[in-house]
Amino acid sequence: MEYRRLYRFFVMAVLFIGALHHAYGHQQKAAITTITFNATSSVFEIVHRFNLHDAEHAVKRILYKETDIYNSADTQVKFAEYIYERFSIADEDGHLMSLVPVGYELDNKHFWVYQELVFSEDAILHIQHPALQEIWAEQINTVNIEVNDEVRTLLFTSEDPHQTVEIAF
């Protein structure tokens, strides 16, 4: 008889808050991250871009109901910290690499979170980017990795929150 693995059944403690918003054309439930090798400083620059309409509703789920990402510096810090915590890169052996938190900013449409990875060798990297997927199944995080004018795209869905990429200079 086939052995069937019994998974632990885990309920996420995500509080359901108020109305679900299907803001067609406003909330996109999609984030885009660009990882670019900066040859001048020999670091990988990691730029996460979230639509503000996504972020403003996300923080109400992730943090607490009445928070306001536009208004509260504390909320902005916490959202950035949340991204620092969710996004990770591990080396070939699975050891987490140290990502330097650089900061965050809002412009009129987007919430940006910045990180750096001091690294400049050929490598196989394991990337995880499950941000916001625990609150919205349809959240898609796209990562463009740009090295030597070549763009490779990784798609992180709640079904596939892990991806592996080979970096060759």
């Binding site: 998974y7 632990r8 059944f9 885990f10 309920v11 996420m12 995500v14 509080l15 359901f16 108020g18 109305a19 679900l20 918003h21 299907h22 803001a23 067609y24 054309g25 406003h26 909330q27 996109q28 999609a30 660009t34 900066n38 400083s41 620059e45 730029v47 871009r49 503000l52 309409h53 403003e56 009445e66 306001d68 990402i69 536009y70 208004n71 650089v102 900061g103 900013e105 809002l106 412009d107 009129n108 449409k109 940006w112 910045y114 997927q133 625990e134 609150i135 919205w136 199944a137 349809e138 898609i140 796209t142 463009n144 763009v151 795209t153 798609l155 869905t157 709640s158 079904e159 929150p161």
Partner: protein
């Protein structure tokens, strides 16, 4: 800049002796790609229904379906029970043996294709979240997913009573197929004939918050009324005839979730029975205000018609009072709507109601009542901006299309974030309740409200009137509508930065997970950037950069008017924009809508050419100067620094003719040769040469490469050494014979010496890499580097509305010890 002084430039253009033919379908030798290949072989063949100009053809037809519906909302059971009489007019040339009807409520059944194909932790599902197991973590289900599961278990969903019969009560055979139903007609319906039949139906209304639908009820347990109150939003609620079309016959594709709807136009008479203390907002025009409204409410409605600002038909206080208790009595509201493709409504005792007449003038619909319905939770945000945004939308959209043709345009607050139906839209933003009982809203929520109202009211034009097929092509309504909501948003307040700028789409377009815009709605991987942002950015570029406003606006209006109350397909849009603008846009549709290319135009090199005149007095002088401009030999310079005296200087008696005259010295032999050359020129050759000599212009060759694949105009900013600047716009057709690299000669006046060139300086083409847009190259700081240089803080992020109510506190001066 590189200088190539040695070449005569007379024969600068070399004609290309051969070019590949366009008759072959495939280029099977070499790697030439015809980015300008005409779309004829891709677009459907024009016919009598849709002609080659993108217009409805001379034999265009569409079906007409009229509905008479009696519906009762049973509030306590949250259930609808209804009967409807359908008149189906077969305007097609075909004989129909059966009809297909959409049963969208069946999507919520446990055995629906939508439910069965929702993947665990899957991409693109619309419901609450689940997360698949990984090596590190167990699978996860959110509380909201469990809530949905419980709701679906506890409630019978989908149509639980359904009967189809003739007018005299005979049962008509019908077969339910998922979210569709086939009705087998007792006798075939011939072209030009009509059939009238009845459908009775009932279903339990879904709780929107629990199942993520496009409609449903929202419960307010904290209201004073015992047991709380509900807001009911009703859409996709009655069995609707599927569209029968010339291009697809029955559009009977299962409703899975993403691909929305396509429907037939028709006239509606709907009687809606609800608790007597409810206010109903609905598609159509209210017919029995005398029965359902008070005399005061009717007076206010009359006053609202020519008011400057919205007038309350039901005030905030009245709504608050009304929601404190319920009733067992009922009232029936009667609405009539003509020539609409759908019918939706909302009902609640929580609604306040404001209205303002939009005097648009014209013959079609001089007066439109713009109205909003919202509970106290909408509050001041809605009072100020909802109805005003509705009117603003009509003003802007009508410029691009036609007069708003319906008597009402409404915005209703409820549990749906944003959804559109004829004459009525559902919009989600609300105020925030504070612990002290007051309500405020942030700038974010204000922008959200204005933005979503514009977007959803805009949908009344596209696709509710310009009736594109949403199930096949999301972009045809969402893309066009996002483009126009960007226009309207910027016209509300340019500092409110919605709208779709080309720069917003570059990250998506350079990624390799893009799918073409021309992809069926349920298959699109990333619906937001694919069906909303990218087509909207493309149209923005078409308007501002490629066609210009005059040509674009004329063509877009032509498209809207041609297809008003009709059913356009993508080819009708592409053809109309091209026909009406008079500009070949096949390359644009091909690049932006049919491929996943992106825009990345690089300026790789600029060479300066100089005219060799053959006049020795000029040319040899130039050459002497060039020699002098070369850097001095390092050894010679150091010798000079050390004071080493040249041998010939120490012994001047050794100098001869060659020491006094360098190799660039002009001799009469040179001059004779030049004069002989001149004498042999034909008169026009001599004239041309002498004029060029006199003008002494600058000749530059600019080399570009197309790294993204998408051909686009090359927009140049030419900066000169005298500080002046000039814009030059080269049409995309420059790429037609060499889509990968092109060179362009630019001639400037003698005093206009080129200092630098920038490609696309205003970021108007969605160029993904602006680093290669400068020549000479510039060091452009990365986003992170720029961020490190200057961290920004914006004052627009303060909740000044709430903070301004903060009381001023007095602080005792701090004691400092010396």
């Amino acid at each position: 800049m590189h200088r190539f002084p040695k070449y005569l430039f007379f024969l600068f253009f070399v004609s290309i002796a051969s070019f590949s033919g366009h008759s072959a379908i495939q280029q099977t030798k070499g790697d030439f790609e015809d980015k300008f290949r005409q779309l004829d072989e891709v677009l459907p063949t024009p016919n009598v229904y849709r002609n080659a100009a993108g217009e409805p053809g001379h034999a265009y037809w569409q079906q007409k379906v009229d509905y008479k519906i009696n519906v009762r909302l049973i509030e306590k059971e949250r259930r609808l029970e209804a009967s409807q009489q359908i008149t189906y007019q077969n305007n097609s040339p075909d004989t129909l043996k059966y009809l297909w009807v959409q049963l969208d409520q069946n999507k919520f059944r446990n055995d629906s294709m939508s439910a069965l194909t929702t993947t665990f932790g899957g991409i693109g599902s619309r419901g609450p979240v689940t997360v698949a197991a990984t090596e590190e973590s167990p699978p996860q289900i959110s509380l909201s997913a469990l809530r949905r599961q419980h709701f679906v278990e506890d409630n019978v969903l989908g149509y639980d009573a359904l009967s189809v019969k003739t007018l005299d009560g005979k049962v008509i055979k019908h077969t339910v197929v998922g979210t569709l139903m086939r009705i087998d007609l007792p006798t075939p319906l011939l072209s030009g004939e009509q059939i009238i039949f009845e459908i009775d139906f009932a279903f339990n209304i879904v709780e929107e918050d629990a199942v993520s639908a496009r409609a449903g009820y929202e419960h307010f347990p904290d209201d004073e009324n015992e047991g709380g109150n509900d807001i009911f939003l009703l859409a996709q609620w009655f069995p609707r005839l599927a569209a029968y079309t010339d291009y697809e016959a029955w559009t009977n594709k299962e409703f899975i979730g993403r691909g929305e709807f396509t429907l037939e136009f028709g006239d509606y008479e709907v009687e809606i029975t609800v608790p007597a203390d409810h206010i109903v907002a609905s598609t159509g025009e209210l017919q029995n205000a005398d029965t359902v409204l008070t005399a005061t409410q009717r007076e206010r409605l009359e006053d609202a018609k020519d008011a400057d600002r919205p007038v309350f038909i039901v005030t905030a206080d009245e709504a608050l009072e009304n929601e404190k208790s319920g009733t067992n009595k009922e009232k029936t509201w009667r609405f009539v709507a003509e020539n609409v493709r759908d019918f939706a409504w909302a009902s609640s005792r929580k609604f306040m109601w404001d209205a303002r007449g939009y005097q648009q003038g014209g013959d079609v619909q001089p007066l439109v009542m713009a109205m909003s319905f919202y509970p106290k939770e909408g509050g001041d945000l809605w009072k100020r901006y909802s109805t005003e945004s509705v009117i603003h939308t009509m003003e802007v959209y009508s410029r691009f299309s036609f007069d708003y043709p319906y008597p009402t345009a409404q915005s209703v607050n409820g549990p749906v974030g944003g959804m559109e139906y004829p004459m009525i839209t559902f919009n989600g933003p609300r105020t925030t309740l504070h612990e002290d009982g007051t309500r405020s809203y942030t700038l974010a929520e204000k922008r959200f409200l204005i933005g979503v109202v514009i977007h959803e009211i805009g949908h009344i034009y596209y696709p509710m009137i310009v009736n594109s097929d949403e199930r096949q092509w999301t972009w045809m309504d969402e893309g066009l509508n996002s483009f126009l909501d960007g226009v309207a948003g910027r016209e509300w307040d340019p500092s409110i930065p919605w709208g779709v700028e080309p720069r917003d789409i570059v990250d998506y377009m350079k990624s390799d997970i893009q799918v073409p815009i021309m992809t069926q709605s349920d298959s699109v991987l990333k619906l937001g950037p694919n069906a909303y942002t990218k087509p909207a950015a493309a149209l923005n570029i078409l308007r501002e950069t490629i066609l210009g406003r005059e040509l674009f606006d004329f063509a877009f209006r032509e498209y809207s008017q041609r297809w008003k109350y009709k059913r356009p397909t993508p080819s009708d849009f592409f053809r109309t924009m091209e026909e009406a603008s008079g500009v070949d846009l096949d390359w644009f549709w091909r690049g932006w809508f049919y491929t996943t290319d992106h825009v990345d135009i690089s300026i790789d090199r600029i060479s300066q050419l100089r005219l060799d005149t053959f006049d020795p007095d000029i040319d040899l002088g130039h050459e002497r100067q060039e020699e002098a401009d070369k850097p001095l030999s390092l050894t010679v310079e150091r010798n000079q620094d050390e004071g080493i005296e040249l041998w010939v200087d120490r012994f001047p008696d050794l100098k001869d003719f060659h020491d006094e005259n360098d190799r660039f010295s002009v001799t009469n032999a040179d001059r004779n040769a030049y004069n002989e050359f001149l004498s042999q020129l034909k008169p026009w050759e001599r004239e041309t040469l002498l004029r060029a000599l006199k003008e002494d212009k600058n000749y530059y060759v600019l080399e570009f490469s197309n790294r993204g694949g998408l051909v686009m105009p090359i927009i140049l900013q030419l900066d000169f050494e005298d500080g002046s600047s000039q814009e030059m716009r080269i049409p995309a057709e420059i790429w037609r014979r060499s889509p990968k690299q092109v060179q362009k000669l630019i001639v400037t006046d003698k005093d206009k010496i080129l200092k630098q060139v920038v490609v696309d300086p205003r970021w108007e083409t969605a160029d993904t890499d602006v680093d290669n847009n400068h020549y000479p190259r510039q060091i452009i700081p990365s986003r992170i580097e720029a961020f490190k240089q200057q961290q920004r803080e914006g004052l627009e992020y303060k909740d000044i509305m709430h903070d301004s109510k903060t009381e001023l506190k007095e602080f005792d001066p701090m004691f400092y010890e010396k």
